[in-house]
């Protein structure tokens, strides 16, 4: 025994009883980017029993400004994030059981990952996967904590099955497109703020101090000095297909998922949204123009070349990603530029 958790146990709402509870808990973190590395480090230092973390990507130089577990070596060697995360976390706290997977998470993977999990932390970068997390959370009655950020803005909300509205209740439409960290940038303090809110809620849940949970959706803009908090309890939709009395978990159905397909012999992956959409190619061209790539356009499609890849974006929402046969890499590029 040593006193590694002494300061946390001195904190009255946790105490030694809370610490004992933490030790028995298993948290699943989806994504090992900025939010994921932040959350994972807090939870592992705090002494949870087990952490499972998954990510499909590898470390790049542009990650180092904010993805706190990675080093220049990881970027130079393009180490998968899940691998680099596990290495670093094991050095930080060898007593926590850390399981990591280099994995592109969709419905089937989620079904496997949530076994024996007490809490799911959202550290993803798109709503396709968040809607899956939301339905899985309802199906297995596991709480999850939404968190997202871009620029100096952040937003977070805690979803408790059987109590709070779920993400499907809160979103009248699933956000499509829009700016991403790769198109609008991101500052590290915005990440840290979201991580602070998410992990504090996580600690409350894990030590079972349910009265302390925040019942509001909050957002902030650190650069503009804005803060907003909305009590969303009244948004619980009694006929919600995810959290209502007769759930169908629509986002676990194949028809509602974004589809990918490798196009034979063309070194190309097609990404197709679940529903046809009418992309505004003009505004997309504007967003992408700051990326240092090359853009060309006709009335039907927009072509965007960057590095060794070319993305061809159709008005109906489909995107062809040339220069890869790897679905995980294609999805990364898709969400990086399309949101």
């Amino acid at each position: 025994m040593n006193d590694r958790y002494s300061r946390q146990e001195l904190f009255a709402p946790i105490g030694s009883q809370g610490q004992t509870k933490l030790r028995k808990k298993h948290v699943l973190v989806i994504g090992a980017g900025a939010l994921g590395t932040g959350s994972a480090e807090v939870l592992v230092r705090a002494g949870i029993g087990k952490l499972t973390i998954v990510d499909r990507d590898y470390v790049e130089w542009s990650n180092l400004q904010r993805q706190q577990l990675y080093t220049e070596r990881d970027a130079n060697l393009r180490i998968p994030k899940a691998v680099a995360t596990k290495e670093r976390l094991t050095l930080i706290n060898s007593k926590v059981d850390i399981e990591s997977h280099v994995m592109d998470v969709s419905v089937e993977e989620m079904e496997q990952l949530v076994k024996d999990v007490d809490l799911i932390m959202d550290a993803t970068d798109n709503f396709d996967i968040r809607m899956i997390i939301n339905d899985i959370s309802q199906k297995y009655q596991i709480p999850w904590i939404y968190g997202a950020c871009v620029g100096s803005y952040g937003i977070t909300c805690t979803v408790l099955p059987g109590e709070t509205p779920c993400l499907n209740c809160l979103l009248e439409t699933v956000p499509m497109g829009g700016v991403t960290c790769d198109t609008a940038g991101i500052i590290s303090p915005a990440v840290q703020m979201v991580v602070s809110y998410q992990t504090t809620e996580a600690l409350k849940l894990l030590v079972e101090d349910y009265h302390a949970l925040r019942k509001k959706l909050i957002s902030f803009d650190l650069w503009k000095n804005h803060f907003a908090a909305i009590n969303v309890e009244q948004m619980k939709n009694v006929s919600c297909l995810s959290c209502g009395p007769n759930p169908t978990y629509p986002y676990l159905a194949f028809s509602n998922q974004t589809k990918t397909a490798v196009l034979c012999g063309r070194n190309t992956v097609q990404v197709r949204p679940s529903k046809p959409m009418d992309r505004n190619l003009e505004s997309l061209a504007k967003i992408l123009s700051g990326q240092g790539g090359k853009i060309s356009q006709n009335p039907y499609l927009l072509s965007f070349s960057i590095g060794n890849h070319r993305l061809v974006i159709f008005k109906d929402g489909r995107v062809l990603i040339h220069g890869t046969k790897d679905i995980a890499e294609a999805k990364t590029l898709y969400h990086r530029y399309m949101g």
């Binding site: 994504g31 980017g33 900025a34 939010l35 994921g36 959202d122 550290a123 993803t124 970068d125 798109n126 709503f127 968040r130 968190g147 997202a148 950020c149 871009v150 803005y153 952040g154 937003i155 809160l170 979103l171 009248e172 439409t173 699933v174 956000p175 829009g178 700016v179 991403t180 960290c181 609008a184 991101i186 990440v191 979201v194 959706l217 909050i218 957002s219 804005h226 803060f227 907003a228 908090a229 909305i230 009590n231 969303v232 009244q234 948004m235 969400h335 949101g339």
Partner: protein, 67 residues
């Protein structure tokens, strides 16, 4: 007109008469936004018809995907 938006007093131009105008004013019209108006959450269908008055309290939260 002066509104209290996310806790701050904000002066908006007279052309901003409704919640829908306000979202436009802040360039949030294309985003998925939750609007709380005088402590009540407003469905999207009511944004057009909801008229703003001096001193109204509005909370605006828009969803983003990054992380």
């Amino acid at each position: 007109m002066e509104l209290v938006i996310n806790g701050d007093k904000v002066e908006v131009p007279n052309s901003v008469e409704t919640i829908a105008h306000l979202l436009h004013h802040f360039e949030l019209q294309q985003k998925v936004v939750i609007v709380e108006w005088n402590a009540k959450i407003l469905e999207k269908g009511l944004h057009q018809e909801t008229k703003l008055c001096n001193g109204d309290k509005v909370e605006l939260v828009h969803f983003v995907g990054g992380g």
